[in-house]
Point group: C2
Chain length 329, copies 2
């Protein structure tokens, strides 16, 4: 069987992750990376893969089965995904929750009008966490669903720390509160806000001679970012910072605490959790699996826009339906 | 919108669970229970629901949208599901893993020939655990998947205990070994057999004057059941037994420990777990959600046999695709 020909649009952390994920799937091959930068300035991790200017992407429309769009949700994807869905079958990881219906409508129209299939908002949240919320809420009809994020790096909060006077380097981890997780697992269905469920842990390299007490106070009292959370600020030296804070871990928990029985007297708990050494590498692995699903569903003649809710799980697997039934049920 | 009309074939623990699950889904109604027993001897939990002899089930074929078959996998379902798929859209929880391909083929042929849709092997294992294995293995291509069961009652092992001389009452719980779970979560990908992962905990009421040391020895050395496991035998009085061992809890864990990155240097862990106060009530809740999916897929004209791998998650939810995208992604 011929391999699924993958293209990558955008080569940041996520694009690199997709490059690596394609290597782990022997039914896929990477045919090229498309970039806004000067192609000769982009060094891939893999020898022999061409880099093309994204302005010329239309030339390659018959060479790519699935284009994985690795831009940012704020400005790139709202433009790129509908435009590229006119030329390609596309996947993105659009994660601005409030704008998903609008993005879906734009991508759906562009894909349908051109006979293409698109999938949006894939990754782990939105994506796998969304799926698990829907499975769990469809099964346990009476109950509460709790999502915890972390331990993981929050880019927005890390940027905010770095704007504080006297801060040379800074990173912020969002951490779930263990006592809140324990309360949820107990079946007591507590009322918890996002801030009850999470605390913020910061690592800071101060500039020489900076007032550390002032930095700590400035961070902890920062409106909208830290003031309503339990926040810890740790000062470390630059060498430690470089050694211990150079990866992008993340993860989290989706817990559905439900009740069944004649008087809803029976506790039932469904829990899904991720512990990710690298957020972009994992997100990319999700995108690669959905690229397989997309190529199969497109071969069946499906067009328009889909989300994780529309994709039967068997499509993600390299195994055939017969193999899945025999070995995985 | 008219409600999904549910029928139940077989009224044991699982059938009772389905009766209760239908109550929790306001887009469903229970139209009747079909039994091999004399209908007047079967007391339902809900007033006003008719009980019919299963021998006359054909009369009701236009009154039921989805028939949930609640028989046992050993002898009931291999006969009942193909036979009833000629008359109804059907769902079962067939769980004899080795015989699933054969069962699938029989049900598929019967359903297709009669324009019906069937779903088999639904519940949590097979079912939700199977799904999670497939999602996780499709995403993390390099890695190991571990399934732990328990803490939960094993009917076969409980029966075995009760055959030991001097045992009046007995129950056996299969328990996952915490140190094995911890090793898996660490990312070390240990080699673990089923018996490395589980221990067996027994609660026994001895007959008066029985030799407890002998009972304990007989249980712990029982071939194929206990001899190769770490087994604990606890003697309790009958009152405690009745009070503390009268429910059917179960659960377990599916953990995928994977690696990503250029040199597979990044640990990534996906974990799915269930903690169930009642195994039959939970399994029934899964069947009810898939009954909703089945009624929608049948309305689209789909026929033949499906498993959890073939059902897009959105079909399980009472929410519309638009609502799911707006609120659950």
């Amino acid at each position: 069987m011929s391999k699924i020909r993958i293209g990558i649009a955008g080569y940041g952390n996520l694009g690199k992750g997709v490059e690596l994920a394609v290597r782990q799937n022997d039914d896929m091959e990477l045919v090229g990376v498309f970039t806004r930068r000067a192609p000769e300035t982009v060094k891939l991790l893999t020898a022999g893969i061409p880099v093309y200017p994204i302005a010329e992407i239309e030339k390659y429309k018959d060479a790519v089965d699935v284009l994985i769009i690795c831009g940012g949700s704020a400005t790139d994807l709202p433009e790129q995904t509908p435009a590229l869905a006119k030329l390609f079958n596309v996947i993105d990881s659009f994660d601005t929750h409030a704008r998903i219906p609008e993005h879906f409508a734009n991508v759906d129209a562009a894909a349908k009008a051109n006979g293409h299939l698109a999938m949006i908002s894939l990754g782990w949240d939105p994506g796998l966490f969304s799926l698990n919320r829907v499975y769990a809420e469809s099964i346990l009809r009476n109950g509460e669903t709790y999502t915890f994020w972390g331990k993981g790096v929050s880019q927005g909060h890390s940027d905010a720390i770095r704007r504080v006077k006297g801060v040379k380097r800074g990173i912020q981890y969002t951490c779930p509160v263990q006592s809140a997780i324990d309360a949820v697992r107990s079946g007591s269905q507590p009322n918890l806000s996002t801030r009850d469920k999470h605390e913020r842990v910061c690592y800071v390299v101060a500039e020489e001679g900076a007032d550390k007490a002032q930095i700590e106070n400035d961070i902890k009292t920062m409106k909208n970012y830290f003031d309503e959370y339990n926040t810890t600020v740790n000062f470390i030296d630059e060498e430690t910072f470089d050694r211990e804070h150079n990866t992008l871990p993340h993860g989290g928990f989706v817990i559905r605490s439900g009740k069944t029985g004649a008087n809803l007297e029976t506790n039932q708990t469904i829990e899904y959790s991720l512990k990710l050494g690298s957020n972009p590498e994992f997100t990319a692995s999700v995108l690669a699996a959905y690229a397989r699903a997309l190529s199969r569903m497109a071969a069946e003649g499906q067009t328009g826009c889909k989300t994780a809710f529309d994709v039967a799980p068997g499509y993600l697997s390299p195994l055939s339906p017969e193999e899945l039934r025999a070995h995985c049920l």
